[in-house]
Each structure stands twice: as structure tokens, then as C-alpha cells.
């Protein structure tokens, strides 16, 4: 099928198209430079056209989502939408049902989402959930930062063995890249403890976060994976943690990049939670300027923000000790789980309120990070959904970024606590994002950071993943019309995925199966076999399941997108 999206105002930062009125042509699911006279014309005259959104960090599939739904039935009561047309019924606000997740991303004009924390032991179930989510492609990141075998390799600095282990494990669990969560802290939580900073050793293993981050980054570059290490640093949510954050980024400075499809060697996730000053919650202040300054001076770093949206939400993370801290802080119910040799996890409901000084300053820190990082290719739009707020709030965050007036109103009208003025610099920042920058932080830059060369842009040969919004960029003033910005970014005029119209006028009109994006590293087969032979005695001794039952078989990913990488050669 051939289409012409006619006369839209196109923003495609990857291809340096900044608000040009032009046609976008696509055929058989790809962007093309010409179509026949039979092509169907979709008139989008003067409307905003971008590549479909790419969410670089969200929690949408896996066991923690299931636990979240099970123990928060009160959340499932919110966001109920009856079945309509092609869609099934939707439930949930911060932890939506699987179909609702796909529909809601689709309505916002998104086409790709990275599931940011997949415990390898629970990978089968994560893939089952991905299969239940329609309309978006999903790349899951396996958790490696507290894996027993990896802790051993890192301690002994066996980078070759570590690379072979990662290579094999990505294939085994059909994962995309390397995720670290509170390295060594998750293991310490198995002993009822946590680690603080980079040099606090994990119990028994006697290895530090500094060693684990460095080793995994070296292994990542040795393999030439399409994404860099994806780091949730230590000390999340602790006052004064910006020091750990900056030290963590410095660790990677001298590690050479081995990839042509990305610019960074470390991706720092939900940086808002890691940019705190002070020593306790009383003297807690923003240290966003320091963290942003470091990122501005170091182009090997990218980050996503994890913007607080001031909602009642559900926090869920592999950072088990942090969740326990949170539970002690708010006294609300708490779910906790230990994933055998691999990771911890926890879930706690949380109510972010504009009346609370700490929550308000957290809100300000997120916006400071967006506004103080000069290069939009280094900072991506996320709410660490659902931790800082559900992903359906992205349009609201966009409206905050595009309107200094709205931010000022919120501060002056006391929609947020007055502490924002005293403990952050937000009120002094008048920068406003333009549509090109919004396109950068929500599609082009995340796609680049993940090495997704086939999406996040509208160049010839790219997937025809396109979003059209009922916004006329040449007529609207986003600074004044922030409500319209939020409304229209929330309900796309068209969402096109692989050349098919999935959303029209904000309604899902077609439901298609999701694809699973995973990385297959080739070229280390003999080293992998040697590594597996060496770990098998420990695997059989400590895991509660047989190795034969651990693997994610092909039938778990009926719609794979396999990214092939030749070990040691830069991915192109």
C-alpha cells in the first residue's frame, strides 16, 4: 500500500528537517522517495508531522507489572475504558492492562518503547506480556548489575569472559542491551543491606559498584552493542546523591566507544532521581545545575529524566532497598521480591503532591535537567513510567517544556510548593523548547542512543512509523496555548506504524501485534561455550530451575526484530 502524507509541517531532527512544509511518502511500511499515482493521499495540511515516538525507558511488561496490578486493584479501577470498535476494555492508570498500554502509547503517537528492566530469570514472562501489548515495538533490557556471575567477573576483571557471558545471555533471554540497577546494592539487599556510593563492597562478593560499572561498560564496548550501558546509579532518591551520579559518569570517560550507531558510552537513566543535594530531607536541594553542567561538558553521556508528574502512581524498580526506604517513608503497602542470583525488586504506591515541598522540588529538578542540558540529543523525555508518573503524562511534560508561562503560573499560583523557589533554580530559567527540540527528545535522540537506525526519523528507508498531531506549528503559540499542546500531543490525528494507520483522530482504529527487538551477537561462540561450561556447576547448585528451562525459546517472540552484531566490530 502506498501513501502520501500531504503538506504537513515536518520535524525530523535526524535529517535536519526543521518545520518544513512537505509531503512524506511511504510504501510497504517504509519511507520512500516516490510513489505511484495510485497512492492514497492523506491530507495533513499545516499539521505537525514527526516520526513516531521512541520511549527510551519505561516499565510496561514483566513480573513487577503483574504484581503491581495484583496488589493495586485500586489503581486498576482508574482509567477504565469500555471496549470500543477494535479495542478491548482498558483498565489502570499507573499500571495499565497490557492492551491499554499499547493503545495509550499509540494514541500519543508512539511506536517504540524500551522495557527498562527485565530480570533474566523472568524473561519468559516479560516476553509473554510484550506479546499481549499491541501496536508498539518493545526492546527489553535484561538486568545485569547484580548478577552473581557478573559480580565475580567484575571482581576478577575478566572482561573477555564477561563479554562472552553477556553475549550469550542476551541471546538466551532475547534482550537488547545491558541494564544496571544500583550495582551491588541489589545483591546487598539479599543480606538486608544496601551499598552507598561507588566503593561500598557487596557482601560476600567483595566487589564494588565502581568495578561492576567499569567492567560492564568495557564489555559493552568490546561487544560493540547498539546501546551503551544503561545505568541506574547507586543512591537513587537520597539527598546528596549527585556526587555519586557525577562520579559514576566519570568512570566511563576513558572507555572508548565501539559503535557507529550511537554517540554515547553511558546512558544515565531517570537522572532527576540522581541530582539531589543536601544531606537529609530537611536541607534537601536541587543539584541539577552541577549534574547538567557535567553532561554539557561530556558528550559521551546521555540521560533520560524521569520527570515527576505530581500524580498518585506506583513505584516499581529492581532497586529493592530503595523501595524499602520508600515504604518506610510513606507507610504505604510494599511488595518485595528477590530474583535468585540476579536482582532484587520492590513496589510501593506513591502520591506525588504539589503541596509537598520535597515532591515539588523533585518536580523542579526534572524540569531543570531538561532546561539546563544544552544539547537536546543528550536528554530524553521520560517519566520512568510509572515511577515518577504514568507515560500518559508525556503531553503534559511537553507543555511544561514549551511554556515558561505555565511553569511560572504553577510556581506563582502555588500549584507547587514554595520550596521550588528556594531550593531550585527553575524559576530563573526561561528557556522554552521548540517543536524541533521536542521531536529530538522524544524520538530522534532516543532512537540514536539505542542504535535504532530504522526508526525515530523520516529518512528514505526508515520504517513508516509516523505521528501527525492536530497542531499547526506555524499558527500556535505553545507558550500561551499550553493546554492545546497537552491535549493534541495526547491524541494524535494519525499514528502510523509500519505503514498502517493505527490511530485516527485520537481513536485506535487498528490493532497489530507488537514486535520484540533483541540483539544477537555473533562471533564469540567458542568463548561463550567455555564460559557456560565454567558457570554450569554454580548454576545447577544455586538456581531453582534447570538451565534447559531458563532459555527463552523462539515461540516466546513470534514477531522478532533481530539486531545482528559482529562481536568486536562497531555496529553500523
Amino acid at each position: 500500500m502506498e501513501y502520501i502524507l500531504k503538506n504537513g509541517i515536518v520535524y525530523d531532527p535526524t535529517n535536519k528537517i526543521d518545520g518544513e512544509k512537505k509531503d512524506v511518502l511511504f510504501k510497504d511500511g517504509k519511507i520512500v522517495d516516490s510513489v505511484s499515482n495510485d497512492a492514497k493521499v492523506i491530507d495533513v495540511t499545516d499539521k505537525l508531522v514527526m516520526a513516531a515516538g521512541v520511549d527510551p525507558h519505561s516499565h510496561i511488561a514483566g513480573p513487577k507489572l503483574v504484581v503491581g496490578r495484583l496488589y493495586r486493584p485500586e489503581d486498576s479501577r482508574r482509567g477504565i475504558v469500555p471496549k470500543k470498535g477494535v479495542t478491548r476494555a482498558e483498565t489502570g492508570f499507573s499500571v495499565p492492562s497490557c492492551p491499554a498500554t499499547g493503545y495509550r502509547y499509540s494514541r500519543m503517537g508512539y511506536g517504540t518503547v524500551v522495557e527498562a528492566a527485565m530480570p533474566p530469570l523472568e524473561a519468559k514472562h516479560t516476553h509473554e506480556e510484550i506479546n499481549a501489548i499491541p501496536n508498539i515495538d518493545v526492546a527489553p533490557l535484561p538486568l545485569f548489575g547484580n548478577n552473581w556471575f557478573i559480580l565475580e567477573y567484575a571482581k576478577e576483571n575478566k572482561i573477555d569472559d564477561l563479554a562472552a557471558f553477556i553475549s550469550y545471555w542476551l541471546r538466551l533471554v532475547k534482550g537488547y542491551g545491558i541494564k544496571l540497577v544500583n550495582p551491588c546494592g541489589g545483591e546487598a539487599w539479599g543480606w538486608g543491606m544496601n551499598v552507598h556510593g561507588l566503593d561500598d563492597p557487596a557482601p560476600y562478593f567483595d566487589v564494588t559498584s565502581r568495578e561492576v560499572i567499569t567492567a560492564l561498560s568495557k564489555a559493552n564496548e568490546k561487544l560493540g552493542l547498539p546501546h551503551s550501558i544503561h545505568l541506574h546509579p547507586n543512591d537513587l532518591g537520597h539527598p546528596g546523591n549527585s556526587r555519586t551520579t557525577i562520579e559514576s559518569m566519570k568512570l566511563i570517560k576513558d572507555i572508548a566507544k565501539n559503535s557507529a550507531v550511537r554517540d554515547q558510552t553511558v546512558h544515565m537513566t531517570h537522572i532527576q532521581y540522581h541530582s539531589y543535594g543536601g544531606t537529609n530531607w530537611r536541607d534537601f536541594v536541587s543539584n541539577a545545575p552541577d549534574v547538567a553542567d557535567f553532561i554539557n561538558k561530556n558528550d559521551y553521556v546521555t540521560c533520560d529524566v524521569g520527570q515527576i508528574t505530581l500524580d498518585e502512581t506506583t513505584t516499581m524498580t529492581a532497586d529493592g532497598p530503595m523501595e524499602f526506604d520508600l515504604h518506610q517513608l510513606n507507610g504505604l503497602k510494599w511488595a518485595n521480591k528477590d530474583i535468585e542470583l540476579e536482582t532484587a525488586s520492590g513496589i510501593v504506591p506513591f502520591i506525588y503532591s504539589g503541596r509537598n515541598s520535597v515532591h515539588s522540588v523533585q518536580w523542579a529538578i526534572g524540569l531543570e535537567m531538561f532546561l539546563l542540558i544544552n544539547n537536546p540529543w543528550q536528554v530524553f523525555l521520560t517519566t520512568d513510567s510509572p515511577n515518577a508518573g504514568p507515560f500518559i503524562r508525556y503531553p503534559r511534560v511537553i507543555s511544561w517544556l514549551m511554556s515558561n508561562k505555565r511553569r511560572t503560573e504553577m510556581i506563582e499560583n502555588r500549584e507547587v510548593h514554595k520550596a521550588v523557589e528556594k531550593k531550585s533554580a527553575l524559576a530563573t530559567i526561561d528557556r522554552e523548547y521548540d517543536f524541533n527540540e521536542i521531536a529530538t527528545i522524544s524520538r530522534s535522540a532516543p532512537a540514536r542512543a539505542y542504535g535504532f537506525t530504522d526508526r525515530g526519523h523520516l529518512g528514505i528507508g526508515a520504517k513508516a512509523d509516523i505521528a501527525v498531531y492536530n497542531i499547526k506549528p506555524n499558527e500556535i503559540d505553545p507558550s500561551l496555548e499550553y493546554e492545546a499542546i497537552e491535549k493534541h500531543f495526547g491524541l494524535a490525528a494519525y499514528t502510523i506504524k509500519d505503514g498502517e494507520v493505527l490511530v485516527k483522530d485520537g481513536e485506535v482504529v487498528k490493532v497489530v501485534p507488537s514486535h520484540t527487538i533483541w540483539t544477537n551477537v555473533k562471533g564469540l561462540e567458542s568463548q561463550e561455550n567455555a564460559v557456560i561450561d565454567s558457570i554450569m556447576p554454580a548454576f545447577n547448585k544455586y538456581y531453582t530451575i534447570k538451565f534447559e528451562n531458563y532459555k527463552v525459546h523462539d515461540n516466546y517472540i513470534p514477531n522478532p526484530i533481530e539486531v545482528k552484531v559482529k562481536a568486536g566490530q562497531a555496529a553500523k
Partner: protein, 269 residues
């Protein structure tokens, strides 16, 4: 004032869901609108006119001008007055589940018994039950830690288990007896029970006040520091009588107050 009277024609074995028929939604409806309306029953909708004749008398400029009267056997009518914010509903029979749940204002009178979940998570208004009610009256829905937070529930008969569970505000009065765990997990609010109470009122309560004017069979160990007080003033209300006052539940570092009629419960001293 607009008076809308529903006279039942036939009953259903599956519950009819009345939550769309509240003053907020139907204050401008005329008889022809009710003729067209289809009511949810299970996973389907059926014509309301098959089940009720509806008479409309008078007019209303706002939902607060509406009084709804329900006549017939209402024991399979669920969600009466759910989420209503104003106006009045009178049910002249016993009613099914969820009566007055999540209501934020207005007044509901049930001239009979109310099944479980009456007044759950209500935030305002007045719910009067002239008969008995069963479990989870004024409580939270499953999973939530915030139950009724405002308004008043008046029960002329007895109440079932976990009355006012997770209560965070508002007042509940029970003239009859009450089953176990009244006020469990409550953090604020006021419960007064004039009859006997089975067991463990106030379990894990962290705040608020419970008054029991009847006999309590078993008290939780988390209620401590008993003292005899006379004619206490509680939340601005002058209560007459001699009470044993406990503080608890210390299992949750609670600072709630439990008042037991001193004469009927002297076995706890």
C-alpha cells in the same frame, strides 16, 4: 423540585446497576428519556421500561432539585446513588450492594436493609439505612488504604464485618450491634456503636475515635493506657456517660481512641 418515581414492574435475578440514574445525570430527563434508556444488567443492557414504570413530576434547574423515589423489591438493585453529589434518593425497600458508594453529597434513605459495601469510599453526603447493613460499610474498596473520608452514615439496625475499614474521615453511627473489626486500619473519623460489638474493634487503627455503648466481647492487646472518663467531648460532640478510654493500636504506633461503656465492659479493667 422534580420528583422521579420508579415503580417496579418485574424483578431480575441478575443485579440491575443504577449508578447512571443519579440526580447529577438525570435531572433534565423526561419520561421519554427513561423510555429509551437501557440499564446495565451483567455484561449487557436492557430497556429500563421492562423493569420500571417511571413517573416524572415537576422540573429541576439543577441536580439538587431532584428527588428520586424507588418503589418495589429492590434487593437486586445495585449501585443506588453511587457517585451522586447532590439531590435525594429514597429507596422504599431493602437494596443490593454498593448503595451510596463513592457519593460526595446529597442524601440517600434506605427504608430497609442494605447489602454489603454501602457508603464505601464516600466523601460527603448522608446515607441513612433504616434496617441492617452487612460487610464493609463505609470501608475502602479492595486494595485501597483510603475508605470513607467524609459525610455521615446512619444505620438504625446492625452492621456487619469491618465497618469503617480504612476510615479517613466522616462519621458512622450504628444503633444496633456490630460484627468484628469495626474501624480496622482507620486513621481519622468517628464511629459510634450503640449495641454490642463482637471482637477487635480498631485493629491497626492509627487515629480517629470509636465509641462502643454496648458490650465488647474481645479487645485487642494493642489498646493500652485505660482510663475512666465521664462525659467526654469527642470531635466537638458532647458524649454522655462513663467510659473506659484506650489508646491504640500500638501495633501500628496508633494514636486512636477507643471508648468502651464502663459499666458494660468492666471485665476489661
Amino acid at each position: 423540585m422534580k420528583i422521579i418515581t420508579f415503580n417496579q414492574k418485574k424483578t431480575s435475578t441478575i443485579g440491575l446497576e443504577f449508578d447512571e440514574l443519579i440526580p447529577d445525570e438525570i435531572f433534565q430527563w423526561e419520561e421519554k428519556d427513561f423510555q429509551k434508556y437501557e440499564i446495565p444488567i451483567g455484561n449487557s443492557r436492557f430497556p429500563l421500561k421492562d423493569y420500571f414504570d417511571v413517573d416524572v413530576v415537576g422540573s429541576a434547574e439543577s441536580p439538587s432539585d431532584v428527588k428520586i423515589i424507588l418503589n418495589g423489591d429492590l434487593t437486586r438493585i445495585k449501585y443506588i446513588g453511587t457517585k451522586m453529589s447532590t439531590g435525594e434518593i429514597v429507596a422504599n425497600s431493602s437494596v443490593d450492594l454498593h448503595c451510596g458508594s463513592e457519593m460526595s453529597g446529597g442524601e440517600i434513605t434506605v427504608n430497609g436493609n442494605a447489602e454489603s459495601y454501602a457508603g464505601r469510599e464516600m466523601t460527603g453526603g448522608i446515607l441513612t439505612i433504616k434496617g441492617n447493613t452487612r460487610e464493609f460499610c463505609g470501608a475502602s474498596y479492595i486494595g485501597d488504604w483510603r475508605g470513607m473520608s467524609g459525610g455521615t452514615i446512619m444505620i438504625h439496625g446492625s452492621a456487619g464485618k469491618q465497618l469503617g475499614e480504612c476510615l479517613t474521615g466522616g462519621e458512622i453511627y450504628v444503633k444496633g450491634n456490630c460484627d468484628i473489626l469495626a474501624g480496622i486500619h482507620m486513621t481519622k473519623g468517628f464511629i459510634q456503636i450503640d449495641g454490642d460489638v463482637t471482637r477487635w474493634p480498631g485493629g491497626q487503627m492509627q487515629g480517629g475515635n470509636i465509641i462502643i455503648n454496648g458490650k465488647l466481647s474481645r479487645l485487642l492487646e494493642g489498646f493500652v493506657d485505660p482510663e475512666i472518663i465521664t462525659n467526654p467531648e469527642i470531635e466537638g460532640k458532647q458524649i454522655t456517660g462513663k467510659y473506659i478510654k484506650y489508646v491504640g493500636d500500638i501495633a501500628r504506633n496508633g494514636k486512636g481512641n477507643l471508648y468502651l461503656d464502663a459499666d458494660k465492659n468492666r471485665n476489661f479493667l
